[in-house]
């Protein structure tokens, strides 16, 4: 079991980048819209919380594999991901369609 040791610093920087995407970029929150963005290949990065049900997680990963879109497993549950997005509800998965000013895609997907 490879558990990537997420230091506090990188975790905070992901949160900062997410906040910048929320402010300046385009995104969709929620399973249905994530699948829609995957089908139309509009998504550029998918972020899944760690307590997303495993069947749903594998389904999103399979779609992303077909669409060659990167998936990031967020180090936190849906409550934390919702807070990171600045929302007052839980977010289990989200799709970033336009990163805006943020470099979240370049940092999380270095090969793209």
């Amino acid at each position: 079991m490879v558990v990537s040791k997420k230091t506090k610093k990188t975790h905070e920087s992901i949160n900062n980048r997410l906040a910048l995407v929320m402010k300046s970029g385009k995104f969709t929150l929620g399973y249905k819209t994530v699948l829609r963005s995957l089908r139309s290949s509009k998504g550029k990065l998918i972020i899944i919380s760690n307590n997303c049900p495993p069947l749903r997680k594998s389904e999103i990963e399979y779609y992303a594999m077909l669409a060659k879109i990167g998936v990031h497993h967020y180090n936190g549950n849906n409550v934390d991901l919702g807070t990171a997005c600045g929302k007052y509800f839980r977010v289990s998965c989200l799709s970033i369609t336009d990163p805006g000013d943020s470099d979240i895609i370049k940092t999380l997907q270095p090969d793209h």
Binding site: L35, R39, S40, S41, K44, E59, Y63, M65, L66, A67, K68, I69
Partner: protein, 135 residues
């Protein structure tokens, strides 16, 4: 970044009478039409799978066991599960939108689709497509 809901993609129908059946995308309508304002596609699939053919079957039995029943349907993208498999059987000329308008056009189209799927099954290629999905 890559569009994967394209022609010849093998998909699994998730809802409706044909739930759990494998199908192949014949034509896509990504932006919908006036009647269906959502992304959907025309699929041709297997309604009745061919049964297991074993070596000691006679020719008559093999022919009987390799029969395939086909279906043609317009499905919403939300009701199909795409797979990594493709099935390059040329069904474009046989299966088209106007097939679904009248019963006798549909019957002839299904007969032709059945014939093409059966001959693909008999070659032994695309074995995954012709096996029933167990669930």
């Amino acid at each position: 970044m890559v569009k994967f809901l394209k022609q010849n993609k093998a998909v699994i129908v998730l809802q409706g009478r044909y739930a759990g059946r494998k199908a192949v995308i014949v034509r896509t309508f990504d932006d919908g039409t006036r009647d269906r304002p959502y992304g959907h596609c025309l699929v041709a699939g297997i309604s009745k799978y061919p049964s297991k053919v074993i070596r000691k079957d006679s020719a008559k039995k093999t022919a009987k066991k390799s029969r395939v029943k086909a279906f043609v349907k317009l499905v919403n993208y939300q009701h199909i599960m795409p797979t990594r498999y493709t099935l390059d059987v040329d069904l474009k000329d046989v299966v088209s939108l106007d097939v679904l308008q009248s019963k006798d056009k549909k019957v002839t189209a299904l007969k032709e689709a059945k014939k093409r799927l059966e001959e693909r099954f008999k070659t032994g290629k695309n074995r995954w497509f012709f096996t029933k999905l167990r669930f």
